[in-house]
């Protein structure tokens, strides 16, 4: 692909040769995730989470398609179709439903690790700006899909979550309320909203899959980044994706699926909210309306605006909440440091961990019932979030003196003594000992 030493596809079987001459699909796969894609040899386990996100997207699509075969998108039938038909009568319906419920959570867990990996190692910097931005588009689509999926069982949190989230639109003056009514097809979530949420919940995962293809395509132009942030310079800096990274991704995927299976089979409702086992009731508001855990940090930012300053507090909250994601699109231009990897940026590194703690605090505040100190803590944490990205990051990148970088990827993973043991150019790209016979 991008490197001159990338191995070209050579069909071995006549059938594959026949196919390759007519439709070079095997060639495409070989170049994308096979032996024809050279990958930096020093990737750590944080580089496994993109593949894992793809695995969870697949799990969601497969379980979701089967669940849709048994689901009724009606306000009278939705709750019972999920909680009686699917959970009790459909063969292994409980497994499909729990796998889908927890699959959404795990999709977000691995995606968050993937995003924070990108933040730490500067994966958003040139020449991978578009990879980063396409990733953010996937993330936004995931949030929309997850929100609409949570509405489908038509429990109390489904209903009131839909009420709150569609209520964001009414924060905008003049056009807000008519837009909300138009989007919902009514004044409150009802049959019209449920049917269109179901339709979109079925559509968007395929849109995500499409953007994932663009994300991977854009990634394969410069090739994967690596923990040093140093560019690939020569053949010995890389290993072919297959078998090296397929083996690494493979065993780690089995391990993460083990964790996922343990949650799905033994604590399936741990990540959910009990109120969603109560059928939706427009006349009874739950004591604490909370979204799913993966929205908690944003919910905390939304709720942190408590005073009307020129604009109403609610509008500030909505603007800040959307702004908190949109600002990530500007990251390649906010952080101008030429050094990609946070490992060689002593000041950046400290602020990065502060950001991680900050987001965890926001998540906690967003999920817990409000009281005076949680409100204050949430306001402080929200303020830091914006200051971190929009003020601290540009300043740090302007004034920080980075640590010296390794001269190459291979020199960073191989100790000096060993590197000297082999004359330059003698090392084989595929590994293996140089020496054969004496």
């Amino acid at each position: 692909m991008s490197f001159s030493w990338a191995r070209p596809y050579e069909p071995k079987h006549p059938v594959m040769r026949w196919l390759d001459e007519r439709l070079p699909l095997p060639r495409l796969v070989y170049g994308a995730i096979g032996g024809g894609y050279p990958v930096p040899r020093n990737l750590n386990y944080l580089w496994n989470f993109g593949v894992l996100a793809g695995i969870f997207l697949t799990i969601q699509i497969v379980t979701g398609i089967v669940l849709a075969m048994h689901y009724f998108a009606t306000t009278d039938g939705a709750f019972n179709s999920v909680n009686q038909l699917i959970m009790r009568d459909v063969s292994a319906g409980w497994l499909l439903r729990y796998a889908h419920m927890n699959g959404a959570s795990f999709f977000f867990i691995v995606t968050y690790i993937h995003i924070f990996r990108g933040l730490y190692y500067g994966s958003y910097k040139a020449p991978r700006e578009l990879v980063w931005m396409l990733g953010l588009v996937i993330y936004l689509l995931m949030m929309a899909t997850a929100f609409m999926g949570y509405v489908l069982p038509w429990g109390q949190m489904s209903y009131w979550g839909a009420q709150v989230i569609t209520g964001f639109f009414s924060a905008f003056p003049l056009i807000g309320e008519p837009m909300r009514v138009w989007l919902l097809g009514g004044y409150a979530p009802d049959q019209a909203a449920l049917t269109r949420f179901f339709s979109l919940h079925y559509l968007l995962p395929f849109v995500i899959a499409g953007v994932v293809i663009l994300h991977i395509w854009a990634l394969h132009i410069p090739g994967s980044g690596n923990p040093t942030g140093v560019d690939v310079k020569e053949e010995r800096d890389t290993l072919p994706f297959h078998p090296f990274y397929t083996a690494k991704d493979g065993w780690f995927a089995a391990f993460v699926l083990l964790v996922y299976a343990i949650v799905t089979y033994f604590a399936p409702d741990y990540l959910g909210h009990p109120d969603n086992y109560i059928p939706a009731n427009p006349l009874a508001t739950p004591a604490h309306i909370v979204p799913e855990w993966y929205f908690w940090p944003f919910y905390a930012i939304l709720r942190s605006f408590t005073i009307d300053f020129i604009l109403p507090a609610k509008l500030w909250g909505v603007l800040a909440m959307f702004g908190s994601i949109l600002l990530l699109f500007f990251l390649p231009w906010l952080d101008k440091s030429p050094v990609r990897s946070g490992a060689y940026r002593p000041v950046f590194k400290r602020f990065f961990w502060l950001l991680v703690i900050d987001v965890v605090i926001l998540g906690y505040v967003g999920g817990a019932p409000l009281n005076w100190w949680r409100t204050a803590l949430g306001q402080l944490a929200s303020a830091y979030y914006f200051v971190h990205f929009l003020v601290i990051l540009p300043l740090v990148s302007a004034f920080e003196t980075p640590d010296p970088l390794p001269s190459s990827i291979s020199s960073s993973v191989l100790h000096g003594e060993e590197a000297e043991a082999a004359p330059a150019g003698q090392a084989k790209p595929r590994g293996g000992s140089v020496a054969t016979a004496g």
């Binding site: 040899r41 019972n80 959970m87 409980w94 497994l95 729990y98 010995r236 078998p243 090296f244 083996a247 690494k248 493979g250 065993w251 089995a254 391990f255 083990l258 299976a261 799905t264 089979y265 033994f266 009990p274 109120d275 969603n276 086992y277 109560i278 004591a287 605006f305 408590t306 005073i307 300053f309 500030w316 600002l327 500007f330 231009w333 906010l334 005076w372 204050a376 306001q379 929200s382 303020a383 830091y384 914006f386 200051v387 929009l390 003020v391 540009p394 291979s410 191989l414 060993e418 043991a421 082999a422 003698q426 090392a427 084989k428 595929r430 590994g431 293996g432 000992s433 140089v434 020496a435």
Partner: protein
């Protein structure tokens, strides 16, 4: 552009910090008094059931006793809409027993008269869901001082604390005039139950419309000879309601164990394969075998010892 973004960020941060200071100031000026509900609300008591934990299985004798409590006591007001009679097989009843339970059920199933087409009722079949005690919400409220008895099918999943909460609630009613919390405080007048309400510290706002349903030992007579104390009946019906909410629990636990073992082996084998594949790649530039300078030195000294020239 960075200046504009920095400005926007500062505006957000300034508003947030200002809100924080004004909130804290309000709190310092008029600290909110703790609500009675916070001071008197109790967390659920501990309840251990055989279905707990990753390898839990139902105690079928207990489920049958719990079903008996439901059908003789709770079902006067509470429906079990999502549960069908045929599912009672999971409690250990056979087909004939289930047919009998269904046809003897005190409420019949709405139907039509086959000759006139007029609304009628018929005896329940094994395939029917358990009929609700009231025809609709209005009827339920009319019979219960305008309170709506919730459906119990998913009650242990829809309440924080699950079965332990149900058990605590069922044994938690107390006299509001003599009740004292763990600090010895008496219930303030404003927290005392209003008309048709009953004090129960396990209920979120302390006062619940449901009067105590399990009031005396021997309210039901257990066929298996278990002593029907209030505590025992509450435990049994809580265990039964775990089953109604999650009838596939045993399947889930068994399947989960097999899947976890499979994935554990897959991870271990996959890891070993990964180590094998990467074995040489991790040492790519280290010369091994006969060309390794260490080995060359060794063989040289060995040859020298043996007097071989080479």
């Amino acid at each position: 552009m960075r200046f504009i973004l920095g400005f926007i960020g500062s505006v957000f941060a300034a508003i947030l910090l200002f809100s924080m200071i004004s909130n804290l100031a309000t709190y310092v000026k008029n600290p909110p008094a703790p609500l009675a509900a916070e001071k008197f609300h109790k967390e659920p008591k501990e309840l251990r059931l055989k279905s707990d934990g990753p390898f839990g299985k139902f105690d079928k004798a207990q489920l049958q006793r719990g079903f008996q409590v439901y059908s003789e006591v709770c079902s006067a007001c509470h429906s079990l809409k999502l549960v069908s009679f045929r599912e009672l097989k999971g409690l250990g009843y056979n087909d004939a027993e289930i047919k009998k339970i269904a046809s003897d059920w005190k409420t019949q199933v709405p139907s039509i008269n086959p000759d006139t087409g007029e609304p009628a009722t018929r005896k329940a079949l094994a395939s029917d869901n358990i009929p609700a005690p009231f025809a609709n919400e209005v009827a339920a409220r009319a019979a219960n001082n305008n309170a709506l008895p919730p459906d119990l099918s998913l009650i242990t999943k829809s309440r924080e604390g699950g079965a332990a909460y149900i058990y605590s609630l069922l044994t938690g009613w107390a006299n509001p005039d003599t009740y004292r919390n763990e600090h010895g405080e008496k219930l303030p007048a404003e927290a005392k139950p209003g008309p048709n309400l009953h004090f129960n510290p396990y209920f979120a706002n302390l006062n619940i419309a449901m009067p105590p349903p399990l009031t005396s030992e021997g309210q039901v007579t257990y066929a298996d000879g278990t002593k029907p104390t209030v505590d025992q009946m509450a435990k049994d019906v809580s265990a039964f309601l775990v089953w109604t909410a999650e009838p596939n629990l045993e399947n889930r636990h068994a399947a989960g164990l097999s899947v976890a073992i499979f994935l554990l082996f897959a991870s271990i084998l996959g890891y070993l394969a990964y180590r094998q594949i990467w074995h040489d790649a991790k040492r790519v530039v280290r010369v091994t075998g006969a060309l390794d300078p260490k080995n060359q030195a060794k063989s040289k000294s060995a040859k020298a010892k043996q007097g071989v020239v080479g």
